[in-house]
C-alpha cells in the first residue's frame, strides 16, 4: 500500500497516457462504424461479410497485432498511434455489427412517415434514424469503451506507457501493490468512462431514461 502512496504521481502519469491512447479509438470506432454499418445494411451479402470480418478481427490476439501493425502501417512500436490504430480496429469489430443491428431496429414505418413529412435523407438520418438507433449504439459504445481501456494495458509489455507498465514493472520487482494498483486504476477508469457514457446517453436521449436495464 505504501508503494501506491509513494508513487501517486507515477500512477497519475500513466493514467493520463492511458487515456490518451484509449479515448481516440473509442471515438473513432463510434464515428467510423456509422457509415460502415449503413453501408453493410444496404446489401445482404455486405452485412454477412461485415459480421464475418468482425468475428475474424476480434479473434486476433492483441499483443502480436501491436507488434506487427507498425510493419504494416509504418508507425513505431512505441508510438501511441500504433496502439490507437490497433484498438480502433478492435473497436470497429465490436461496433459495426452493433450499429448495423441498431439501424435495423429502427421501424420502417417511422422512417417512412418521416420521409412523408418531408425529411431530406441527410436530415432524416440525423434527426430520426440516429436518435432512434441511439440506445443500441450507446450499448455498443459502452462495450467498446470498457474493452478498449482494458486492452491498452497490453501495450505495457512493449514499453508503451500506460497503466499496463505497472504490471510489467510490478511483476519484475515483485511488488504486488504496484500490479494491484494498475488493475484497480484500469478498472476504475473503465467503469468511470462507462458511467459517463450512461449519463451522456440520458442527456442526449431523455425519452429513453429509465428503460435501459444494464446488461450483466
Amino acid at each position: 500500500m505504501s508503494w501506491v502512496l509513494d508513487n501517486l504521481d507515477v500512477i497519475a502519469g500513466y493514467t493520463g497516457a492511458h487515456l490518451v491512447q484509449a479515448l481516440p479509438p473509442i471515438l473513432l470506432a463510434f464515428v467510423l462504424s456509422l457509415p460502415l454499418a449503413k453501408l453493410a445494411n444496404s446489401r445482404g451479402w455486405l452485412r454477412t461479410g461485415v459480421t464475418t470480418t468482425s468475428g475474424l478481427m476480434y479473434a486476433i490476439p492483441s499483443l502480436p497485432l501491436f507488434v506487427l501493425l507498425p510493419g504494416l502501417i509504418g508507425t513505431g512500436v512505441r508510438s501511441p498511434l500504433n496502439i490507437v490504430v490497433a484498438l480502433t480496429l478492435y473497436g470497429l469489430a465490436l461496433m459495426v455489427p452493433t450499429a448495423s443491428d441498431g439501424f435495423r431496429s429502427v421501424s420502417r414505418d417511422v422512417l417512412g412517415s418521416a420521409t412523408a413529412q418531408g425529411y431530406a435523407p441527410a436530415a432524416r438520418f440525423l434527426a430520426v434514424e440516429l436518435p432512434l438507433a441511439g440506445p443500441v449504439l450507446l450499448g455498443g459504445v459502452r462495450v467498446v469503451a470498457v474493452s478498449t481501456i482494458s486492452l491498452v494495458t497490453v501495450g505495457g509489455v512493449l514499453g508503451v506507457p500506460s497503466l499496463g507498465m505497472l504490471f510489467v514493472d510490478g511483476v519484475r520487482r515483485g511488488i504486488v501493490a504496484e500490479i494491484a494498483a494498475g488493475v484497480v486504476a484500469t478498472a476504475a477508469l473503465a467503469l468511470l468512462t462507462d458511467a459517463l457514457l450512461v449519463m451522456l446517453g440520458r442527456l442526449l436521449m431523455p425519452w429513453h431514461r429509465g428503460r435501459e436495464a444494464g446488461r450483466p
Binding site: 479473434a59 510493419g71 504486488v176 446488461r215
Partner: protein, 223 residues
Amino acid sequence: MNENPFLGALDWLADPMRWSGPSGIPVRTAEHLGYTALGVLVAALIAVPVGLYVGHTGRFKGLAVGAAGVARALPTLGLVTLFALLVGIGLTAPLLAFVTLAIPSLLAGAYSAVESADPATVDAARAQGMTEWQILTRVEIPLGMSLLVGGVRGATVQVVATAMLAAYVGSGGLGRYIFQGLGSQDYPQMIAGSLLVIVLALVLDLALLLLQRLTAPRGTVAP
C-alpha cells in the same frame, strides 16, 4: 525462408518438423484448447447457476449486473501477473484470469436466457402446477438454450484469444510460439502462433454457432 514475415510465417507452418514432438503444433494446440475449455468450464460452474438464479427469481439483479461490469473492466494481463505473484507459476494464475474473463459473458447468457422466456408462458406453467425447478428446467432453459449457448460462445472466443497469456507464467499453449517469437524477434514464429490462435478461435466460434442454431427450440422458429 522468406523476406516477408507473413510469408515467413507460412514457411514456418509448412515445416513438417513443427507438427510433431512435445512442443509441436498439435500438442500446443491441444494445450491451448485444454486451457480454454477448463477456463470456460470453471467459469460456467460459477456463472451459469448464478445467472439462472438471478434470471429466474429476478433477485440480486443489480448486484449481478454490477459484478459482471467490474469483471469486464479488469485487465486480463494485470490479473495474470497479479495472481502469478500470489500463487506462483503454473496454470492456476492464468486460469483464474480466464475464469474472470469468461464470467461476464456466461452470466449474461444464462441470465438473459431465462429472462427471455415469455412471462405469460412461465405464468401458465406455474398455474398448471409446475414447481419452480420444473419451470426452470422444462420451460425457461429449453426456451433460452440458444442464448445460453451464445454466452458460452462469447466466453470461449474471448478466452481462446487470451489463453496465450498462460505462456507468460510458465505454461504451454500456442502462446509459447508468440512469446518466444516476440522475445527473440522471430516474427514469422510469432505470426504463425497468432494465426493458429485465430484459426482456433474461428473454428470454435463456428462450432458453437452451429450448436446455437441446433439448440434453438423447435416450435419457436417461424415455420
